[in-house]
Symmetry: C3
Subunit: 343 residues, 3 copies
């Protein structure tokens, strides 16, 4: 089974954790820590963290955590039963590092191909990869070392999966999809479906343009549940290294996404758009096709990008909610304004 233990039975002492996080310990080095929790929920064997001790002073004073990660700027004098403090440069990032230590058991690999998987004889699968029950793998696939393929996933022909990549259950990687190393692809994601390409005919019907390109995904990419990344029409749809994509995101054919860009849920990106590196794309954003977005662009939630963006910066067009009555009045004013001659 690809799914393993979600909590760890391993313990780490506060002293070992401080060393692992390159932090500074204040308090008892030998407390055994078995889990990670919020300030409110943590118990004496848990680590918690706080990024802004002033703001969360009440929660800090009330916490029962055995150990808390704090910024180096310190926490001032606090009356708590916390027995160990670890001061770090960035508590949120240190919490992330700790989360990987405590969560490490979750992605354990049980090498081997489940007997109910259907693997094409021409596929090449690393000896230490894990292929779950009900998985289907097509001809000439190449599955790297330490890869996990979750139950009932389907790989088409000539799919490549780099070492250490992890497919959760029920993922589709269709023909010719190539995914780099250490990818995490969540349940229900579909890579390599046909792009939406049709030519109109003189009688206003649609003729399919066969989608002959592929999908190429870099290293260290994460793709969310039920997201879809279409194959290119003639070229590749390309997802750069370190890109993080949330759930229910639609990436159309020929799109290029630069390295380390993060895309929140429910975003739609139309065909042939080129997104820069290190962008942050908010939830529900829509991006039209055949345009380019520069590096380091931030798009607020539900923005509609209608033309290229040449300069880094923050862009928006989402409308904050109002009481419905006020909102209707705003719309009425705007309509009136638009009808005024010469305004």
């Amino acid at each position: 089974m690809p799914q393993c233990s979600a909590t760890t039975e391993r313990a780490i002492t506060a002293g070992e954790l401080a060393e692992y996080l390159a932090g500074e310990l204040d308090g008892s080095a030998d407390i055994p820590l078995r889990g990670l929790a919020t300030l409110a929920q943590a118990g004496p064997a848990d680590v918690a963290f706080v990024a802004d001790p002033q703001r969360y002073r009440d929660a800090l004073e009330a916490t029962a955590a055995g150990c808390v990660l704090v910024p180096r700027s310190g926490t001032g004098a606090l009356r708590t039963p916390v027995r160990a403090w670890i001061a770090v440069d960035d508590p949120y990032r240190a919490y992330g590092q700790a989360s990987r230590w405590f969560g490490a058991g979750r992605r354990e690999v049980s090498p081997g191909v489940d007997p109910s998987a259907r693997v094409h004889p021409d596929a090449r699968i690393a000896a230490d990869a894990e292929v779950g029950p009900g998985v289907v793998i097509g001809a000439r696939c190449r599955i790297g070392a330490g890869v996990v393929i979750g139950a009932n996933s389907v790989l088409g022909a000539r799919v490549e999966l780099g070492e250490g990549s992890y497919l959760h259950p029920r993922v589709s990687l269709l023909d010719d999809v190539k995914v780099g190393r250490r990818a995490i692809i969540h349940s229900g994601a579909v890579l390599g479906a046909d792009g939406f390409g049709f030519a109109s005919t003189p009688d206003a019907t649609w003729e399919k343009i066969e989608q002959l390109g592929d999908v190429r995904v870099g290293d260290d990419v994460e793709i969310g549940a039920n997201s879809t990344i279409d194959r290119g029409a003639l070229e590749s749809t390309r997802i750069g290294n370190g890109v993080k994509i949330d759930n229910l995101v639609h990436v159309a054919h020929n799109v290029q996404i630069g390295d380390h860009t993060a895309i929140a849920g429910c975003v739609g990106i139309a065909g042939s758009a080129r997104i820069g590196a290190h962008c942050a794309i908010g939830g529900g954003v829509g991006i039209l096709g055949h345009l380019a977005i520069a590096d380091r662009v931030t798009l607020h939630a539900m923005t509609l990008v209608t033309r290229s963006i040449d300069r880094p910066g923050e862009y928006a067009s989402g409308v904050p909610h109002q009481e419905a009555r006020l909102w209707n009045r705003m719309l009425a004013r705007l309509r009136r304004l638009a009808r005024t001659r010469g305004a």
Copy 2:
């Protein structure tokens, strides 16, 4: 097979139906009724309903239905071949009750585990549950009485499914997801994928925060096709009792949804948002993270919620369509207005 008959071969008489609906019969008590239909499509063995007889007077006069559910306020004199009228407090709700009578056969259970299912030996499955073909069930799952698990669904480890819950084909319930009683989860839904959590590094790359929480779903919840509900980062993502979620909805990590809230299609809810009870959330709404929405809030379609909402009421920010030319003029006016000094 989990899929059964969509129409019933059982018949109910108009008299029996009036009793079942606690309504008042006017006409022949012994007409046998075999189906439910719209006024326009109903035949002499069908029940139809009308909530507003004045508004639908023409349809009422033309219907061939054998029996019609009407409000107690009555229908006035009508010339129709309808042979039985049942007057009820709320015809739409009575139609719903009738729909459950006529649709009852659809969710019949054929107890047993299909031989092609792969069930971990440590899983505990009620004797009268039905596990469909190709289903995969992980270690230490607990499947309640009368549960149906549709074909090719995948359950991770330690999943709990309360009695009478129904999973349609191809659902993912990943590690540690807990679902209450009488849930209906539609095809393609994914519960328990990792939340979208990353810490940024000084060189502007992303480090994964392991998502160590879980998902807890109350009783009588319905979750639509291809919707996704992520596990919490450290805590639980919680869906209250009686919550109804439509298709292609994204619920991020740590979100809390109060009892009996209904969420229409294509909604996205960002991390750690807390939604009240008895809310009605329109299609395509976006809700930012780390905010709270009171009980009994109604959000119109495509609203963007950017800050907490403390009071019940109706909120909106969706813009109704205009002719494109007029809309462009409205936008131009708004831009000009924003550039005017001192306006």
Copy 3:
């Protein structure tokens, strides 16, 4: 395996291609052509195309393509190594036709039912259909000639699939879904999930309305990855002939979509909406329920349709992105305007 070769090993000469496209050849008729590519990527055995030779003059002069499809209006004098030009009425459409020639091998059928598929004994499957591994087919299904059903797809009871239809892996067609001929349904799509129908009770909870209708899909329809089309409450949800639907589109119960309408990604259509024929619906559009849209309506991206549209034409309400600072000012002005008395 349903997935076959994505590129062809067949060759066609420039002369044969000109004949196939009903175009006019200028240059060497005997060049063997093996693939289709963009001007920038094409080599001497590839066909490329250009719709606007003036605009792409630089790319045309630099291309290494063996053959280029051009409009009949001609290309003027160019210095390129292109050895064959084919003049056609509509180069984009001719490229589409060529794409089908070169992509033909991709949809080859390997007749037969995979031994790991679970087919109900009452299902009737054409002898030359292909049923992939892990597929589940319910009672009384009717599968037409030349149909392909991709791996791990699930068909409920009484599903009908017309001849030549192609289901990619992991598709759900639930009870009573009827699909016409030559459909292409992409991975993760769900047809026939319950519509979102509930009656409210006096104590503000929700009672399910059983969804007793079905889904009827015409001929030559394409449905994108992870899209969902719900069954009708009492009637049919109907998708007309030649309709093209992109990824992550939500079509609610009782919706009717007219022939040859195209719907881009991330669109949501609420219950009982009636969409005309030959409409073009942009990405992220939301359409409210119980309204009607005329034939030949174009909706720009992220438009919210709130009332019926009686006349053909272009409609919009999506807001183009702005610099965030400017956008905030625009919103503030609009709010102020709405609060002004008498404005």
